[in-house]
């Protein structure tokens, strides 16, 4: 496929879905993480276990949930437990391989902000807040972050550290005795970044097809580093793009966000 045949949002979702291994236990946030996790389940990872913080374990929704507690998550799950149990036994209990999250702001060490833009007490924008992210960022075996890239979102200094990535880099997580490895990848609509093995600073390791280094530099609020050997993201396969579009079309119909005649967001 050529870059004209798919959107930058689509390649972001597809690139994120590829990072999820079959059989992995994945704690899923709502929005793009949930789309990507379900795309993985419908393509290369049929045995992936999706956990949502509302309580479903092993959810297999036919359409994407609009909220984190939609009924189809409960109906298709292997079991549904209470919210305290999800956080106590399953996440803190070390049974989650991958935490899959979005964010409003991110810094060079993949710490994230979902709380406020501006001053906490007099914010210019009040965001929804932490949700389950601080605990997921601490306790999941590893974390994958997915968000659109812009200089407003990829900032030198976060207005608020809601959930930790690699703090100030190096072995900071180890020093704080955080159980999980923290972020292992950040997927955007332009590229894929991975923390440098030693410094933990985010480094672009993969550009999506047709995207230039300059575009990534412009969309990052700090001096972004590039790996010596920069790879190109594999172009979406027909199966990936058709499965994603089909999923979104079904979702839009089910949630009434388009009429029968509509084609959805694709």
């Amino acid at each position: 496929m050529t870059p004209q045949e798919y959107s930058t949002s689509e390649i972001m979702t597809i690139a994120a879905s590829r990072l999820l291994k079959n059989g992995a236990v994945c704690f899923v946030g709502i929005g793009v993480p949930s789309t990507a996790a379900n795309l993985a389940r419908l393509t290369h990872a049929p045995d992936i276990v999706l956990i949502y913080e509302s309580g479903p374990i092993g959810a297999k929704p036919a359409v994407l949930p609009l909220s984190i507690g939609d009924g189809n998550l409960a109906e298709t799950a292997d079991t549904v437990v209470s919210t305290p149990e999800i956080f106590r036994y399953w996440l803190q209990g070390g049974r989650v391989d991958v935490g899959f999250l979005g964010a409003a702001q991110i810094d060079r060490f993949a710490n994230i902000n979902t709380t406020v833009i501006g001053d906490y007490r007099k914010p210019s924008t009040r965001l929804p807040g932490a949700g389950g992210a601080p605990e997921i960022a601490s306790c999941a075996g590893e974390v994958v972050l997915v968000l659109k890239q812009s200089a407003r979102a990829f900032v030198k200094k976060l207005d608020f550290v809601t959930s930790v990535g690699h703090l100030d880099g190096g072995d900071a997580r180890k020093r704080l005795r955080l159980p999980g490895k923290g972020p292992v990848a950040v997927v955007t609509d332009l590229c894929l970044m991975e923390p440098d093995p030693a410094s933990k600073e985010l480094t672009v390791t993969q550009l999506h097809p047709g995207i230039t280094r300059e575009e990534v530099v412009r969309a990052t609020g700090w001096e972004i580093r590039f790996a010596a050997e920069l790879r190109e993201t594999a172009t979406p396969t027909r199966v990936e793009i058709e499965t994603l579009r089909d999923l979104e079309r079904r979702t839009n119909l089910a949630h009434g966000t388009v009429t029968e005649a509509g084609t959805g967001s694709t």
């Binding site: 409960a74 389950g132 601080p134």
Partner: protein, 287 residues
């Protein structure tokens, strides 16, 4: 033993100005009808606690019922911001709102501690996060056995918890299923509890291990069919996603919000009449 009564009577006798109130339901079984009744009765200075203060608390905050909000995620699920919450936090409208912010794991643990009548909950979280800098209720303690640093948060023990459930029997035993959130913990943590239900039946026909709140853990049971709408009640009705989208427009401006609250809640006698007004306004496309 729970009294089976009307929502109006239950709220009038069990909720007082200044109370700490939890209305729980994790996107499922949200007690909307009960929230409306709080607005209708003009309760003030409430401290509202809820993991996910979505549209129900946007309505209560915009209507001026709250002085403080304890929460862990405040948004309109699948849609975006809560405009009334934001207006209160950003511009003190209609009144200043103190906020106390947590994470979900923390707040759900705080309810468990409340139900256990323990003073605090303990969890492994917040190392490196800014949340403890702005919430002095999040503290760090040393484990007396391993020396590990852990986070501690005070338990939540509401004066009143309000939930919605599918069924009660005639004695007031309550049955709920599907996504359970923290409802059971929130009821057991509270001094008083109101449960609105879809129906009251002779026999719950519940299976062993079902989520049951025995009648003697609940103060009042009120039969309010549809009382969780626009959220959903598993086995009864689906989520009204269009309402959540429409709410974004209604709540964006102060005057359109106030008009909606007046015509739909303040000028209606009860939830049945609210449903009639909502149906009529929806048919006209104005909501």
């Amino acid at each position: 033993m729970a009294t089976i009564t009307t929502l109006r009577e239950a709220m009038a006798s069990l909720l007082h100005d200044g109370d700490l109130v939890a209305m729980e339901g994790f996107t499922h079984l949200i007690p909307f009808a009960a929230g409306h009744e709080v607005i209708r009765q003009g309760r003030k200075n409430l401290t509202l606690v809820r993991m996910t203060p979505d549209v129900i608390y946007d309505q209560l905050i915009g209507a001026g019922c709250a002085k403080k909000l304890i929460f862990s995620w405040g948004g309109n699920p699948g849609v975006g911001s809560l405009h009334r919450l934001r207006d209160a936090v950003e511009h003190d409208w209609p009144t200043a709102l103190e906020i106390q912010e947590h994470g979900h794991g923390d707040l759900s643990n705080a309810y468990v501690a409340g139900a256990s009548k323990l003073p605090f909950a303990v969890l492994r979280a917040y190392a490196g996060s800014d949340l403890p800098k702005f919430n002095d209720k999040i503290k760090f303690i040393e484990c007396p056995f391993t020396g590990e640093t852990l986070a501690a948060v005070p338990s939540i023990q509401p004066d009143l918890t309000v939930i919605h459930a599918q069924k009660a029997d005639r004695k007031g035993n309550v049955l709920l299923w599907g996504i359970l959130g923290v409802q059971k913990e929130a009821v057991l943590a509270a001094k008083r509890a109101i449960v609105t239900v879809e129906e009251i039946v002779d026999d719950l026909k519940a299976w062993p291990n079902a989520c049951i709140l025995p009648s003697w853990t609940v103060s009042a049971v009120c039969c309010v069919p549809g009382g969780a709408a626009p959220s959903y009640a598993h086995g009864y009705y689906e989520r009204d996603n269009r309402f959540y989208q429409a709410w974004d427009t209604i709540a964006r401006k102060r005057d359109s919000f106030q008009n909606w609250i007046k015509s739909h809640i303040l000028d209606t006698e009860n939830f049945d009449e609210f449903c009639r007004v909502l149906k009529a306004s929806t048919a006209q496309g104005v909501r």
